[in-house]
Every structure is written in structure tokens, then in C-alpha cells.
């Protein structure tokens, strides 16, 4: 177990370094070198060279990479090209809002998926086909189309919910209810896109477990069908469901980018789309890096909890060919 944890942590660390490297390459590719902020117009070439040297831009690229990584580790992502403010400050405002949105959507989609999928497990016919068809439709419907559909019905037609934003502007101190009302549509869009997939997957995973021998043994002993399904079936399917939870992290982040834009939700999705439009590279790269780190950490968490829940994972993941293993767990 200790060896497994160590290996997974090492894998994740290597992966983090690779993502840092990819981001650094993009930083290098970004037009406009950091010195251009200080060097304008017709400046003496000698002075320009001095400024570049002082900023460390003459150092070998590996040295620059290490220095840049160290500053990123301290949470310093540089300053926005547009506002001139530290990127960290805009992230500090936007990130909690995105976490709030994606967190709620994540929980809702898992709950809805389990409530729909687990009762259908082990049953065939319509119970099997309906979630599959719905999952395929929701997968194929772009999130922005779903968002407009919900806006059209609940905001424009029925007038129940606000079209977008974090809270009603000018309402003074924002009430919790007002915030919740603003949250329903964006979180609902995100959750709906994933819930059907969860239902389909939960059904499959629990069905597999229900056909195993220990379940038959439980039935023979007279355990109730509800208990078997919800306790023992779900317990057995847990490693697979946790894996799916890990896989859905990049989906949620990617979905949040579009959904935040549609609903004018001022999180990192809106931040990054606006930054891309304005060619504000420091902000764009910081968001990418944070998203990648979230994914790496999520996949590490998945690997570790699966190893803890099901020791067979540990044995299976120790092949001679390390790279061919589960990798990022995505």
C-alpha cells in the first residue's frame, strides 16, 4: 500500500511538472515578452539589453523555467496585461464562484444519476434503454443549447428565474435566496449534461455487482432487495463510480467555461473567455494551469481512494510496463 501511494504521488508529481512545462512553452510562445512593458519606442539598445538582463530574460531557458515554476508555486502568476493587477487577485475573486457553481452541479448530477440509475440496475427492457437514450441525447446537446432552452422556458416564458448573473444588481446586501435563484439555471445546465451519463453508468456498474456471487448469497440469506441494491450493490460499484467522478472533473471545468459565459456568471470561465478575447496571456495561462492541477489532483485522489477501497487495484496496477498503466487516471 505504501509503495502504491508513493508511486501514485510520484506519477502525479511528474504529471504536474509536465503540465508546468506545457504551460511554460505557451508562456514562451506568447507574443510580447515581459520586458516590452518597460521597453517602449526608441530606447537605447544597451539600456534595453540591461533591462532584459535584469529581468533574467538572458538566462538559459531551464533556469527561467525553474524560476518561473518557483514563482507559480508561490501563487504568483504575474500581472494581467489588461488591468495591470496581479492575476492572483482576479483568481481569488473568481475561483470561489466557480467552485460554488461546479460543486453544486457535481453533487446534483451524482445524486440525480444515482437515484435514476441504481433502481434500474439489474433490470432490462425500458429501464435499461431509456437512460441510455437520454444520456446520448444530453451528451450530444451542446451545453449552450441546453442553457438557452432552460432560459427560454424558465426565464423568458415562465418568468420564474433570472436570466443570469451572480445576484440581482442593486439589491443591496444580497440575500441567500436571491443567490440560490441565480444559481439554479447555470448549475442545472451543468448537472443535466452529466446526470444522464451518471445514471447510465451507475446502472451498468451496479448491475455488474448484482450479478456477483456474494449478492446471490445475501439474497439466499433473505436480505431485502432495497438493502441489497442500495447498500451492497452501491458499495461494490463504488470504485467505478469514484473513477467516473474523477473523469468528470475536466468535463465540469470545460462545461463551466461555456455555461458561465452564457449566464454571465463571473467565475473563472467568464474570466478566461474575456481574457482570451483580450489576448491577456498571463490570465489565460494561470487558469489553464489551475485547471490542469485540479485534474491531476482529482485523478490522484481517485487512484488513492480506489486503492483503499479495492486492494485488487493495487495489485493490478503494478505491471512491469509502468507507463502503460492507468496513467493520469482520466
Amino acid at each position: 500500500m505504501a509503495r502504491y501511494i508513493l508511486r501514485r504521488c510520484l506519477d502525479a508529481a511528474v504529471l504536474l511538472v509536465v503540465t508546468l512545462g506545457v504551460t511554460f512553452v505557451l508562456v514562451q510562445l506568447a507574443p510580447g515578452d515581459p520586458s516590452s512593458r518597460y521597453i517602449g519606442g526608441d530606447i537605447d539598445p544597451a539600456a534595453a539589453a540591461r533591462i532584459r538582463r535584469n529581468l533574467g530574460l538572458d538566462d538559459p531557458v531551464p533556469v527561467q523555467f525553474v524560476r518561473w515554476s518557483a514563482s507559480v508555486a508561490r501563487g504568483d502568476f504575474g500581472r494581467s496585461f489588461v488591468t495591470g493587477l496581479p492575476v492572483r487577485d482576479s483568481l481569488a475573486t473568481a475561483l470561489p464562484r466557480t467552485l460554488w457553481l461546479t460543486g453544486v452541479a457535481f453533487l446534483v448530477q451524482i445524486l440525480a444519476g444515482l437515484l435514476l440509475g441504481v433502481p434500474a440496475a439489474g433490470r432490462s427492457g425500458l429501464a435499461a434503454r431509456v437512460p441510455t437514450v437520454i444520456a446520448l441525447v444530453f451528451y450530444s446537446l451542446p451545453a449552450f443549447c441546453l442553457a438557452y432552452l432552460l432560459i427560454g422556458v424558465f426565464s423568458l416564458h415562465l418568468g420564474w428565474l433570472p436570466i443570469g448573473g451572480l445576484e440581482t444588481p442593486g439589491a443591496g446586501t444580497s440575500s441567500l435566496i436571491d443567490r440560490m435563484r441565480h444559481l439554479i439555471l447555470p448549475a442545472g445546465t451543468l448537472a443535466l449534461s452529466g446526470a444522464a451519463g451518471w445514471a447510465r453508468y451507475a446502472r451498468g456498474a451496479v448491475s455488474d455487482v448484482l450479478s456477483e456471487h456474494h449478492i446471490t448469497a445475501l439474497r439466499a440469506r433473505g436480505a431485502g432487495p432495497g438493502l441489497i441494491r442500495w447498500k451492497h450493490g452501491l458499495r461494490g460499484a463504488l470504485p467505478q463510480l469514484i473513477t467516473l467522478a474523477g473523469v468528470s472533473v475536466p468535463y465540469l471545468i470545460g462545461g463551466a467555461v461555456v455555461v458561465e459565459k452564457v449566464f454571465a456568471w463571473p467565475g473563472i470561465g467568464s474570466l478566461v473567455v474575456d481574457a482570451i478575447a483580450a489576448r491577456d496571456y498571463p490570465v489565460v495561462l494561470a487558469v489553464n494551469l489551475i485547471a490542469a492541477m485540479a485534474v491531476v489532483i482529482a485523478s490522484l485522489a481517485v487512484d488513492l481512494s480506489c486503492g483503499w477501497l479495492d486492494p485488487r487495484t493495487i495489485l493490478a496496477s503494478d505491471p512491469a510496463d509502468g507507463v502503460a498503466g492507468r496513467g493520469s487516471g482520466q
Binding site: 506545457v22 446520448l136 451528451y139 427560454g152 423568458l156 468535463y251 487558469v287
Partner: protein, 373 residues
Amino acid sequence: MSGPMHHMGAFVPGMSSAGRRGASAVFSVAFWVVFVVLAGHARDLTGLAVADRWADVLLGITLAAGSLVLARAGGDAGGPGRMVRRFAASRAAVAGLAVVVGVLCAAILAPLIASHDPLAIVDPVHTRFLVPSADHPLGTDRLGRDNLARLLYGGRYSLGISITAVMISIAIAVVAGLGAALARGWVDRIVMRLADGLMAFPRQLFVLTLVAFFSPSVGTLIVAIAATSWMRVARLVRAEAARLRGTDFVSAARAAGLSPVRVAWRHILPNVAGPVVVAASLNAGGVILLETYLSFLGLGVAPPKPSWGAMVFEAREALSTAWWVALWPALAITVCVIAFNMMGDGLRDAFDVRLPHPSGTESSSIAAGGERG
């Protein structure tokens, strides 16, 4: 996959399936020639018009390479009759294939079908947001342009970009996967770590970022989508190739003095066929979604050129008054992606490949999970 044994046909002279494979290569190259010629027909409106001629040439070469790889892959895999029978046995798969072919034909033949110019703004005041009629079967948009024409030409962009990007990503994936598996050692390690690292970036976000680094254009879009779509397939190709590396027929080919490249091309690639074809068709759905996201966010096909994502974006202001304007492109995207997925599912079953469906099914193999485009 039917295993290496079937491949002996290509290894033993006289039993070669090269003819069949050649035919499918010719077919897929011909498909692209037709597409490119029709594209040239209305150059500004095509799915393949890139900024300059060199980019066009480069794109053509890459496409041809991608087609060849797919043809090479698709031509073998042992007993195509059995594959076709298994594919045809699934009603959903056949329906998906039919829709895909239908939509492709509609996009390619757009100049012949559409009775209006997709860009012409005749009278933006009096003909805007017309309800569907005989003259405008799908109505008109906010500038009085014909929705049907825009939908058809938009399909050329959305499908042209997506399919091209998938082809390029497959070409990259095959080269990276085969290269990694056969070179082993540090090449293998670096390529696979890079693939892992790139997979950690959420795809929609990363494609947006790549597009932002270069000027948004059709060419940039294709390259950015391809650059973020090859990793999973490369992983798959690598795993299959690593398995085949140790088989007797590969050792025999090597012992016969064939160069590594020739061994890879003639003896390993045809056996990696199934997974590659399946991955290509399952990827296509996600890539179409990705393209519509980018166009929706204004980083894809630049207006006034029509693309499905941009059409939804443009229709959003009239959501309460002329909702059908947004409905057509939304339907087109959804139907297309569903069709590609059903076709991919059918192919997966026909080739008997263990590959997860992107919308999250197929237990046990979810670890390699799909990612929503």
C-alpha cells in the same frame, strides 16, 4: 480485433489483401478530392479555405496521410464481411451511418440544394425573422438571410473542420503511438508523459487557449482541435502495438530484414486497425461539439460565415420572439453528434474493441474514459 493470425494474409505473398486495401485508400482519397474540389467551387464559403496556399497544400498532404492511415487500418482487420455483418446487425449503427452520410452529402452539395445565398442580406428590415415558408423553408435570421442555406453551408464548416481535425489527430496519434511502442526507452516515456500531461488540461479550455495564441481562423481551429485530440488514441495505438511487438509474425518480419518503418506500416498498423477506426468515429462527435463551442464563443469560424455554433450565438437575442432560428442549428449539432456516436458504437461492437463511450458507459474500461468535447 481478430488477432494477428488474420494478418498472415498480408504477410504471405499471394494471399495479400493489398488490392482491397488499395481500393479503400483510393476511395477515401477520392472523398477528400471531391470535398476539396467542391470547396474550391465557393472558396470563401468552404470548410477548407485556409488563409494561404501553402497551408492548403500542407492540409491536403496531411489529409491524404490521414486517409491513407485510415484506409490502411480499415482495409484489414480480418474478414471484413464479418465486420460488415456485425455492423449491419445493429439498427442504431446503420441509422447513425445513414444520418452521417446524409448530412455529409447535404453539406457537400450545399451549393446545389440551397436556393439562397447564405451571406446575402437582401432586406434586413422587412425579411428578418420570417417564419418558415415555401420560399424560406426554415425561415430567415436576424439579418434576413435564409436559414436553410446557412444551415447547409454551416455544415460544410462544422463537418469540414471536425473531420479534418479528426483525420489529422489520427495521423498524429498513429505516428506517436507506433513510434513510442517501437522506439521504447526514453522516446516512449517522453511521448506518453506528454500525452498524459496534455490530457490533464480540460479540452474545451485548452483549445480556446491555443486558438487565442494564434489568430482565430479555420486553419488555427483545425490545428488546435487536432493538437488536443490525439492523446487518447495514441495511448490506444501504443498499447496495441506494444502487445504486437512481441508476436511471432512481427519477429519473423524483422528477421526477414524489413526496416522498422516497414514493419510498423505493413505488419503492425493493419492490426491496430479496429481501435483506430472506432476511436476516429467516436472522436468525431466530441470534435463537432468542440467546434461548435469555439464558434459559439466567437473564436471559431468568423461571422458572417455560417457555422452551427455561431448561428446559435447569433440567434440568442431573439430567443423569446423567433426561437426557431436557434432551433435549427441546435438540432443539426445534436443529430449529427448522436449519429456519429451511434455509428461509433456500432463500429466498436463490430470490431470488438473495448473502448469507453464518451457519455460514460461501458463499465471496466472507464478508466481510459471519454472526455466531452
